[in-house]
Amino acid sequence: MNGPVILDRRSVLAGGGALIVSFSLRGAVAQEAKPQELKPQGPKLPGSLATSPYLDSWIRIDADGRITAFTGKAELGQGFRTAFQQIAAEQLDVPFDAIKVITADTKLTANEGYTSGSHSMQDSGTAILHAAAQVRALLMAEAARRFELPAENLRSENAAVIAPDGRRLGYGELVAADVLHVQAQPTSPLKDPQSFKVMGQPVPRVDIPAKVTGGAAYVQDMRLPGMVHARVVRPPSYGAELMEFDAAAVEKMPGVIRIVRDGNFLAVVAEKEFSAVKAMHALAAAAKWRESAKLPNQNDLPNVLTRLPSQDFAILSRSDPSVTGTRRLEATYTRPYQSHGSIGPSCAVAQFADGAMTVWTHTQGVYPDRQAIAEMLGMPQPSVRLIHVEGSGCYGHNGADDAAADAALIARALPGRPVRVQWMREQEHGWEPYGPAMVTKLSAALDEAGRIADWNFAVWSNTHSMRPGGAGSLLAAQHIAKPFAVPAPKPLPLPEGGGDRNAIPIYNFPNAHVMHHFIPAMPLRISAMRALGAYHNVFSLESFMDELAGLAGADPVEFRLKHLDDQRGRDVVEKAAQEFGWSRDRKAAQNRGQNLGYGFAFARYKNLAAYCAIASEVEVDRETGRARLVRAVAAVDAGQVVNPDGITNQIEGAIVQSTSWTLYESVAFDDTRITSIDWQTYPILRFNSVPDSIKVHIINRPGQPFLGSGETGQGPAAASVANAIAHATGKRLRNLPLSRKRIKDAIDA
């Protein structure tokens, strides 16, 4: 299908009256141009400037003085819209409120791929930082030219450049020339962190007022004129085929507009939302599906996984024959499939009008998802526009992209009418791509001095990203009559890695060998979940460090420091231990009986992002096996801090969420169907298990690069809790989740 082109940002700006018009018309730079076409010669540009080097892709100043910062990243509840606004305001020398931030939209913003991997601050934050600083310099230079004074004599303040004699030119007056449509330089005149007024401050989040007063804040809250409501009837299991269904009866139901069926894709559209829900139930009740039993035995999952064919990569091989160990320890750790479990099921609104498709979605990647949806619909990409609108927190790749595809497919059948698709709870739990199950096998030996001489780590894992690129990643595209094949899974490359993320130890071991067994087969639908493989790898690695500390008769914190050279790593370990009162309290706990335990864990996320150490106190009820995190103290180094309260919020959340994964969570299935399909069958942490206190200490590093902190807490929180349970019970649990039953069985064993 061919459709008219939705105008890209340049052409829109050309008609929009902004003063970057003249150069916009050059037309040479489309936002979706291939990164390499744009790459300037010479040194790499900072952050996402490397792929979108024009300053006006990031900062736009209108003649009337309005200032807009653009990001290709999507706000997912991490609060970075506020952080970006702080960065731009600081470097431009304008008040915080003077800036409007526009987030991911294929018509308006740069292509920054996915909002994932704690990359937003590193990629987009860094780009905005440098772009804003360079824009300010350009405006100063332009003012200098007009004032006929050297730029050094001028100062910027409150969105204006001011001369010593009091003459003043507002930023809006200065952008009249081609000032901002220029490629960024590799280095920027950044402000001295000592002089920061907005960056580094706990500025209140701009999105919160609407969220606590009932403002429209989410894609779920969109109400477009003439909008209709759709519900999808998903197959009862993977690969199920639709044999028959009763369209006639459902079409007669009040308010039903249309049934959309394409192969195994079945949906119903109604004027009112609850009519759509009722019609969906009626349609589902009468539909007959052919299912097949294909799922593995859940109780034997670790063996199933390790027996699957794998591609094997030796990702670290370090040898020092002069050092040998004597006392050896081995252990196997496992993780089940786990759900993102967004509180709000996925939702999208789509409208097909005049041959063009517009989709409002909470996807993490508007550009890749557009590519997938365009391919599914057989439309050229420029005829499809994706606009990010916030949804419920996603913590990775949940049903967002699929809901967007559902909406687009249904909207195409009803030209002109906006279609809102809302997934039901059972659909989100049953069809989201889960965090993959994993197995790790570790062995290590201590030398005479109680140091680790030899370390072996092997991880078995699926890929950790089946995010769209092609249509085959979308459920709807898999279910239609002419289905798109699921793309072949690939391991994500190091140094960030996927299943092997954080498999390479940050500690200094003379002999160290790490194997990544990448399993292409995917018995369950899986994709990226917050921290990817780092959650399980850090859980395993940091649990095993404790086991080895026990063997060495050493204090776990001292044992870690003994093997840790990275100074910033040592700083967070020492900070967390000190603020927790580690040595004192740990002794006190031992004296207080066996119900309380203290645990410690540390990691640097991906070995290249934020550092995080967590000490925790856990109480275990020996009668029931119930474990509760009582208090946690974290220390974090995320580089230059933009919004300390934002980081604290992320780390507090990471600790609570990871504790929930670690103590309770496991996707359940029989040989055919997923059986954990709601909050009863997939329980998560509730208020009765919330800690008494969580304290987060941030080590600020003024002038250092931003290090994303959104995922750094997941692994350390898990291991810290596991180590505390081992300390409280004297029993080591190595299979996630560390459930009440497993703890009780271990105590009784």
Partner: protein
């Protein structure tokens, strides 16, 4: 047609009597705060107040609401004139994605209306039915404590209107 009293106003609602209140609030009355989370009474994101009690609007059919007073988050205050509970959640920055937050606030509000000085244990027990996936719990607890203090101050000043 059913007459539904929401946030002090009467509305004539043209919906089937079995329609859950949540859909009526969100679609017929275009109120955003109550959220669809599960539709099964399991998560609390749809919580509103009916005659002073916290109620799960996703499992409460319209026909049970004739003659009752429904209050949603919108009925408490606005960005410009926030109610104590809203001010408290803003001051504590008690949200990540925020999807669960309206439900949390309504359940907390119902508690504070009948017990102006709840203990920490009482707040935790009260909020038990409501789920948050982002792990914002610590801030939610702090915000409810703060709301209690704010209401207390308002009471001391003799201003009960903002309760």
């Amino acid at each position: 047609m059913i007459t539904l009293k929401v946030n002090g106003q009467d509305h004539q609602v043209d919906a089937d009597p079995d329609t859950p209140l949540l859909y009526v609030l969100r679609n017929d009355l275009e109120l955003n705060a109550a959220k669809f989370g599960c539709g099964l009474g399991q998560c609390g994101s749809c919580t509103v107040i009916v005659d002073g009690q916290a109620v799960l609007s996703c499992v409460t059919p319209l026909l049970l609401l004739e003659g009752k007073q429904v209050t949603t988050l919108e009925g408490l205050g606005t960005v410009a004139a926030p109610a104590p509970i809203q001010r408290a959640f803003m001051e504590e920055q008690a949200a990540q994605c925020g999807y669960c937050i309206a439900g949390m606030m309504m359940r907390a509000q119902a508690l504070l209306m009948r017990n102006s000085k709840p203990t920490d244990a009482q707040i935790r027990a009260e909020l038990e039915p409501n789920l948050c996936r982002c792990g914002t719990h610590m801030r939610i607890l702090r915000a409810v404590h703060r709301a209690a203090r704010l209401m207390d101050t308002a009471d001391a000043a003799g201003d009960r209107s903002i309760r």
